[in-house]
Amino acid sequence: MLQIEAVRKEFTGGAVPVVALAAVDLAIERGEFVTLVGPSGCGKSSLLTLISGLSAPSSGHIRIAGRNIAGTDRDVGFITQQDNLFPWRTLVDNVALSLELAGVPAAARRREADRWIKRVGLDGFEQAYPHQLSGGMRQRANIIRTLIYEPSVILMDEPFGPLDAQTRLSLQALLLSIWESQRSTVLFVTHDLTEAIALADWVVLMSARPGRIVRVDRVDIPRPRDIFHIHDLPEFRRLYDALWRDLPAQVDDFRRHA
């Protein structure tokens, strides 16, 4: 479904060229939920930006359903850490943005937006402006703003990063319940190992800059999962410990080179 082959990304704008990604290879099957962890600055976000089509790799190929990507594509949705809601739009107009851009008539996009707003429990706030909503509510809006146009690949860049622990857990559970009915292909970046294991079919560990893939682990925890008690499972502990052993090595390595 999503194939990343020998992708390399250099940033040459600064005084010293920076290699963000060095030869990344990754293949993700349709409907898989993959989380990407690694030390900060390892190029996780750069990789998502490349897949989104907002910038192009220095070399290598990214293919979606066999097609090379060239620029942005409605097959790929991108949910960022900052909610980036448009402050001048009401919640419902923010959620319906993609439909508006595609020329969907007002009544139809309103209906669709209302459905999604209800689904994530934001009904009653349709006419609220972003500054009137809490961080958790805004992030829910940010997520459904992408889900509403049903891209087959969804990129998520630490979407729950800025939230408090409780809101984070409830949004993880919400995301899983939506994904289980939708089964889009998800590539989810996080620096939280617990989150990475709890959500994913596969956990991909990246090295410090320049980013490479160090290990890929399958998460053998059946779905639907109970996100609130998943930490008690032996599979969870085993994988957590294994990843945690490798992650600090990458962090130290990064510090030495920085």
Partner: protein, 295 residues
């Protein structure tokens, strides 16, 4: 980030009872009398201040200073009433309003238009940058006598003078407004495969709207300044001409009455632009400074 009016629901149940926004605001404790938050007190103090000022003026006349030079509030008030009954005043008002309206529209239209154009066309903006700054640095007032020569003594010289003052304010603000648009917001639309035209119309323009509206609001009085100045120099009609005629004949009461009427007109225009701004920018979180200013 900072909103605490609507706390997040910890549960995710779709049917959970949720308060509509803004509905549940804790009742505020009454502010102490001499607090800037206390609207009634501020209002009353304002009226007191105005009355004291006017009383000092009225009673100081011909005791502390010569009323020939400074007139008195009551005489000015009577003159204002006479002006309002004089058809000649409305003729002059009409002329000035026309010049100001056209000057403002032309100035703001071209300022916003060129601002948008150059914001989209960074190369040309960079080339023109020093020239625009140089033009901006000319005291426009200094051009006034030449404008009369170039545009004649009719409407167009006054319109042009008003328009140039408005142009630079709206132009620089529009340019900065569009340049300061958050790139991340543009990317949101681009990921959804928006065309560049859609990015401009749905992201850049609304995002810059607060800058543009502010510049429109600030520049409006300058349209009047330019027009009045033009009328001072050469004209046979308009409020500036009327004011000039009074003051050159040492009719201070008449001149101050016209100044008072100009001030009133400007205040009304500002109230209208404020209302438009509040309506268009209702999505903006209101700062506490603005709340105080509106009480």
């Amino acid at each position: 980030m900072t909103s605490v009016d609507t706390p997040d629901q910890p549960t995710i149940a779709a049917g959970a009872p949720v308060a509509p926004p803004r509905a549940a605001r804790a009742p505020r404790a009454p502010a102490p009398w001499f607090s800037p938050e206390n609207g009634a007190s501020v209002q009353l103090s304002r009226i007191l201040f105005a009355l004291m000022f006017l009383a000092a003026w009225e009673f100081g006349a011909d005791r502390l200073f010569d009323s020939f030079f400074f007139s008195t509030p009551l005489r000015i008030l009577a003159q204002v009433a006479r002006e309002l009954l004089d058809p000649g005043f409305y003729r002059d008002l009409g002329v000035t309003a026309l010049e100001m309206g056209v000057g403002f529209t032309v100035g703001a239209g071209s300022g916003i238009g060129l601002g948008v154009l150059l914001a989209r066309w960074e190369y040309v903006a960079k080339v023109l940058d020093p020239f625009l700054l140089a033009l901006y640095s000319i005291p426009r007032i200094a051009l006034a006598p030449m404008l009369i020569v170039w545009f004649g003594i009719g409407y167009s010289s006054k319109i042009f003078l008003g328009a140039t003052l408005v142009f630079f304010i709206t132009f620089f603000n529009t340019l900065s407004g569009i340049r300061s648009v958050d790139k991340a917001l543009c990317d949101v639309a681009r990921v959804m495969k928006a065309t560049e035209w859609q990015v401009f119309r749905k992201v850049m323009l609304p995002s810059a709207s607060s800058w543009i509206l502010t510049s429109v609001k600030i520049s409006l009085p300058f349209a009047l300044v330019g027009v009045i100045l033009g009328e001072f120099l050469v004209s046979s009609q308009g409020l500036g001409y009327r004011l000039n005629r009074y003051s050159t004949s040492y009719n201070i009461t008449g001149a101050l009455a016209i100044v008072f009427l100009m001030m009133t007109i400007m205040l009304m225009l500002t109230a209208i632009t404020n209302a438009v701004e509040a309506r268009v920018l209702r999505w903006r979180p209101q700062s506490s400074a603005e709340r105080v200013a509106q009480t």
